[in-house]
């Protein structure tokens, strides 16, 4: 098991390097960090431009620039932005904190609801509850996150303007200067983004849970359990649910990447200072190294969660062996 984990981590290093080199090549080739200075007549001076290009190694060949960038990433915590000359880490670490809060909350709520609904739908297959939840999750699948987020925003703006009640805020992270991570004020602000992200994952989890439950319910050992006279409750919770939960672990780990993608849209709609918002604003201003920093953090997160999924899978299902 340990060798397996070590091997997987070692394997992910070349993958990360390849991803970073490809993105670096692409991102630096297709945008000019000095474009702003060139456009400004006061700074459009060959001497200045040449000096800056030299300081930031822009005049070097691509592999050399990549090497300098890689050093910066490790030595100076992701380096500094070419656009603002500010270090990237302070900005992005705050953003990560905010995004993590939203994404993890959404993930936990979606998992609990999805698993519960999936179990109940499978036990009462073809009941009204089952059909209703099926339609709800079909809708949840089809709805683009941005549309759902905007509708929630419209509804709560309307409620505020009509009745002057603040249930949830529709933009920002705090109403005052700052508020601590779990204050009521913060929760009122992040409620709508969390609901948005929850709906989409919930649709996936409840469908998946229902399908795997039905799969397990029809297997032989469940029939044996029933035949030897176990009460139905025990059969379901001790024998069926435990095995049906295993695939959900993988699905939810893989869904984490999709949630980070969804956070881009949700955060830019609710103007939350999270990773997605960071990414979109830096992309709009062509801030090359900040975009690279975001891409790398997302890639590492996705790879980590994939690894975690595989390891947990082996833990939960002893039939799976790693060699």
């Amino acid at each position: 098991m340990l060798t397996y984990i070590a091997r997987r981590i070692l394997y992910s290093i070349p993958v990360l390097l390849a991803t970073s080199f490809l993105s670096f090549t692409f991102i630096t080739k297709s945008s000019d960090p000095l474009a702003n200075l060139r456009a400004n007549p006061r700074t459009n001076n060959p001497a200045i431009l040449h000096h800056l290009a030299h300081v930031y190694h822009l005049d070097q060949s691509l592999p050399v620039r990549y090497w300098y960038w890689l050093q910066d990433v490790f030595v100076h915590k992701l380096g500094q932005s070419l656009l603002t000359s500010q270090p990237i880490w302070p900005d992005i670490s705050v953003a990560i904190e905010h995004t993590l809060q939203i994404v993890l909350l959404a993930q936990v709520i979606a998992l609990i609801l999805g698993v519960a609904v999936g179990i109940y739908s499978a036990i009462r297959q073809y009941s009204i509850f089952d059909y209703t939840m099926t339609s709800v999750s079909f809708l949840g699948y089809a709805m683009p996150t941005f549309w759902l987020a905007l509708i929630l925003q419209i509804i709560f703006v309307d409620i505020y303007l009509k009745w002057h009640v603040r249930i949830f805020y529709t933009s920002g992270l705090n109403s005052g200067v700052t508020s601590s991570t779990w204050s009521i004020d913060r929760l009122q602000h992040i409620a709508l983004p969390v609901i948005t992200l929850t709906v989409v994952s919930f649709a996936l989890y409840s469908r998946y849970m229902r399908a795997t439950m039905l799969d397990v319910i029809n297997s032989d050992y469940v029939r044996t359990a029933r035949a030897k006279g176990l009460p139905e409750r025990l059969v379901i919770f001790r024998h069926v649910v435990r095995n049906a939960l295993i695939p959900i672990v993988t699905v939810s780990a893989l869904q984490f990447g999709a949630l980070l993608g969804g956070a881009i849209v949700t955060e830019s709609i609710f103007t939350l200072d999270g990773m997605g918002y960071f990414f979109i604003t830096r992309l709009q201003t062509n801030d090359v190294y900040s975009v690279m920093a975001y891409v790398m953090i997302v890639a590492i997160t996705v790879i980590m969660f994939n690894l975690l999924a595989d390891i947990l899978y082996g833990f939960l299902d002893p039939r799976i062996r790693y060699d």
Binding site: L16, A142, M143, L150, I154, A258, F279, Y294, V295
Partner: protein
């Protein structure tokens, strides 16, 4: 998702009897006035599809929506850019055929939505066709020949999978596609969308190449191309058609995401994602956001229904798990 309503049908055996496939139109057996007509595999599939109620609903919905988009010039009451400053931000009304209201400079919103459908359906269909054909070709070669082709393709798909699709597409679109030509966006989405299809085709081909009939074809002296595209391809069509159908919805959604975030199709061409984004400035005028998004949701649901119907029809033994 309801279970298939099709009555029990016995699929024709695929085995050969006396060297002749049973499925071939053997002359009808007439026994005591009872007429049996031999049905081919395809006619069974067609019957299953036509009897799938949800698939039929989806198909009719798609024909109506896509038809309106394709015939936008004749269906839309106005052109998408006809400005009427005396009639600004008007709610949905039958007066002057503004069924979807008007936007902030008095353009008829229904017409804009219909032209938006036209853009979306072009993107969806072209991406689905191009990436399916390309993925099919690459996946077939990887699965059939194995070796380095297989390795290279699998490593590429690995790299693509380390990042959420949205992050990759946004970065590429932001840096390349600022001009926002519709076909640039199509190319960008298709360039990333062929990988999952190639993976699926590769998987099917890997198992098919060990089948007896492939060995038989080889023994007779058939060339590789003939074996791949004449003998093996028809057996992979089921999953390919299903995935190709679902790709239409995915491509439409991805385009909407890009356009919504401002990295998609440029003005003046309307697209559904862009219309939703435009409505964001006027949270009080609900129709600007809700209606184009609703059309988007209906399109995706219809495509999913048709995809489910095709899966049940073409690939009856596949488990009905949507992952």
């Amino acid at each position: 998702m309801t279970e298939p309503t099709t009555p029990l049908e016995v699929a024709p055996p695929t085995a050969l009897v006396d060297g002749r496939p049973l499925a071939a139109p053997v002359d009808a057996t007439v026994a005591e006035g009872l007429e049996l007509r031999a049905r081919s595999q395809w006619s069974y599939a067609r019957r299953r599809f036509l009897r799938h109620r949800l698939a039929m609903i989806g198909l009719v919905g798609l024909i109506i929506i896509f038809g309106a988009g394709a015939l936008a010039k004749y269906v839309a009451p106005y052109t998408f850019d006809q400005i009427d400053l005396t009639n600004v931000l008007h709610g949905p009304t039958t007066v002057g055929h503004h069924y979807f209201g008007t936007d902030e400079i008095g353009r008829d919103y229904l017409s804009r939505v219909i032209y938006g459908i036209k853009t979306s359906e072009q993107v969806g269909l072209v991406v689905a066709v191009v990436s399916t054909i390309f993925g099919l070709f690459v996946g077939a070669i990887a699965g059939y020949y194995r070796g380095w082709v297989d390795n290279v393709i699998m490593r590429i798909t690995d790299l693509v999978l380390t990042l959420p699709v949205l992050v990759v597409l946004l970065t590429v679109a932001a840096l390349l596609g600022r001009s926002g030509n519709e076909w640039t966006i199509v190319a960008i989405i298709a360039a990333f969308y062929w990988t999952p299809i190639a993976r699926i085709v590769r998987g099917v081909f890997l198992s098919l190449r060990e089948k007896e009939y492939v060995e038989a074809a080889k023994a007779v002296g058939a060339g590789d191309m003939r074996i791949m595209f004449r003998h093996m391809l028809p057996n992979t069509l089921g999953p390919i058609v299903v995935n190709g159908t679902l790709a239409v919805a995915d491509a439409i959604i991805l385009e909407a995401f890009l356009s919504f975030l401002g990295f998609g199709i440029a003005d003046p061409t309307p697209s559904l994602g862009k219309l939703v984004a435009g409505g964001q400035q006027f949270p009080q005028k609900w129709w600007l956001t809700v209606l184009p998004g609703l059309v988007l949701v209906i399109i995706v649901i219809c495509v999913n229904f048709v995809g489910d119907g095709l899966r049940d029809a073409l690939d009856p033994q596949q488990r009905r798990v949507r992952a």
